[in-house]
Subunit: 344 residues, 2 copies
């Protein structure tokens, strides 16, 4: 069954010439090496005839270019990352690059393991949604001059290239919208994780409620409980403890899903009274009853900017370009769930 | 800034011995090649001291194993594939494999291009959600003895390893559930694509309505219109043309989303009267109003079986194992949207 791949050796032996000659012809060095036009043509014809395909691993060893990028996310099954992955893949495809996706589960150990694996495989660059404690690994990548763009999260203490959104501004805007529509007891439900984007979202909420002297109702669900789908228990208890709450901003899409489930199952009448805004939009939120107001991060722009940046870094690998910090704005997609309610 | 990677050459030169000697030691051939224990230890100590890391590309050239699998789907941003991708990634990680994801958009050209790229990069195996016209390419992979498992879709005319679900049985079961709950004018909204899983789903619908002499209301939206988010126009027209329809089975998740949007925006009163079942479950369907009944494919089992199969193929590459055809059952998750309605 197994067909043997034709090698340069086979070609050299079949044509009764040296491997070096074949190699020169295949690497466009025939003229430089004074190989006759006749012999060059003979090799090229034969290569075509036997359908020889150069071994790309060997080739990437030589050129140092693999045309492969790594896009590491927290969880590829999270719709926000799946969308970004698809956008980045399409942009890369147009530029002749393939993208390796992987999930690090926000774990440093896994992140470092994956980075080291890809590093020795000589990928051309990394677009990284980082776990919280890998500053040393990132510094190593930078020292080794490996093209790297952080996406979604960054390290305030590290000077790196990154593309993020203004998370603090986004939650501030969402809370302001609640306030304008008459909501007064606005809760913020988030996860307790050391992630820059989560810190920023929390501070945007705090700034807004402080500014208007409103009460602070924050629920921080432990990260490990949230990823084990245990958020519902926390949300139910939180709502029971604070019956005054008249609006909730959910810090991520999956917390919104958990919250909607709790409301639907435990507090059926609440859905028409409580204001709801979710972070990250989802097609189904449009047709939900009520349709759900969402903070929409500019995924297309995030993908475009990261790709632009990583390609610049790859192209100018030998130059020390100044790091770029790209901060994009999110938008508020206003739907039914945050509309002004009649006074009871 | 740039640190140079330590090479075998550097080590040999630093220790004033030959590259061959270093290579023998690093490849566990010191004893076989009669290299003294003292020298062996000296090399190993030095390698540790300078933190030498073998070049894995060169290593995979030698061993022929890259520990990388390719999982090709139609669209990684489709939640069904994103979920499968995550499950496969986790299973692979536990076995020491990394997974390369990519999307083929159901296009043969793109599929073939991607397969060829990964083939020359010598990945260890392919798990493939195939585009419809790549029988020749698949035959080539088989002839070249490259481990391959088709997932979700198969070719009735090709004897390959595959893991699919019984799609015909699944739609039959869904329509039977509608019939048992008193629905009589049951529509099936699908896409017009030459894909085995779609053919099978359609035939399950037809078998059920034929068996009970019910009218056949099938809408087949052209594939290219569906992926361009133009399904809504087709669904709206279809519902206008057939006011008798009292239930709809949607063949994919994204068609359900489009359908729900049309109903919400154009036929507001219909949502409480019409029966709805979707193919492929989604967390948000649980809390939708009404909650949506779903045909749930066994994604965990699909991922497990594909991984089991591909690892067997990799392990037994030199043996000609008989092809395995694994057909899994879907389940019907019954919720509010398909419940019996009171007679009007």
């Amino acid at each position: 069954m197994k067909k043997k791949r034709v090698s340069i050796k086979d070609i050299a032996s079949d044509l009764n010439i040296s491997v070096t000659t074949v190699s020169f012809v295949l690497n466009d060095k025939a003229e430089e090496k004074h190989i006759s036009k006749e012999l060059t043509q003979k090799v090229l014809d034969y290569v075509k005839k036997v359908n020889y395909k150069p071994n790309q691993i060997a080739q990437s060893l030589r050129t140092g270019e693999s045309k492969i990028l790594v896009f590491m996310v927290e969880d590829i099954s999270n719709l926000f990352f799946a969308k970004l992955a698809r956008l980045i893949e399409d942009l890369a495809y147009k530029k002749g690059y393939k993208v390796l996706f992987c999930s690090n589960d926000n774990e440093d150990k896994k992140t470092i393991e994956l980075i080291n694996l890809f590093k020795v495989r000589q990928v051309d660059g990394f677009i990284l949604v980082s776990s919280p404690g890998i500053q040393t690994t990132i510094n190593q990548l930078i020292e080794e001059n490996i093209p790297l763009v952080l996406l979604d999260r960054y390290f305030p203490t590290l000077d790196t290239n990154y593309v993020i959104t203004d998370n603090s501004d986004a939650t501030f805007m969402a809370i302001m919208h609640f306030i304008e529509n008459g909501f007064k007891n606005i809760a913020y439900i988030t996860i307790d994780a050391t992630q820059s984007q989560m810190d920023d979202r929390l501070s945007g909420y705090k700034n807004a409620v402080n500014k208007y002297s409103l009460p602070n109702y924050t629920l921080e669900i432990p990260f490990n409980e949230a990823i084990r789908d245990n958020s519902e228990v926390y949300i139910e208890e939180f709502l029971k403890k604070h019956p005054d709450i008249d609006a909730i901003l959910f810090a991520t899409n999956y917390l919104t899903q958990a919250g909607l489930k709790v409301i639907k199952e435990q507090y059926t009448d609440l859905i028409d009274r409580i204001g709801i805004i979710t972070f990250d939009d989802n097609e189904l939120f449009k047709t939900y009853s009520p349709s759900i107001t969402a903070v929409a991060q500019p995924t297309t722009e995030m993908a475009e900017k990261s790709m632009e940046l990583i390609l610049q870094l790859i192209k100018n690998k030998e130059k020390a370009l100044p790091n770029k910090h790209i901060v994009l704005k999110s938008s508020l997609v206003i739907r039914e769930s945050s509309k002004k309610r009649s006074q009871s």
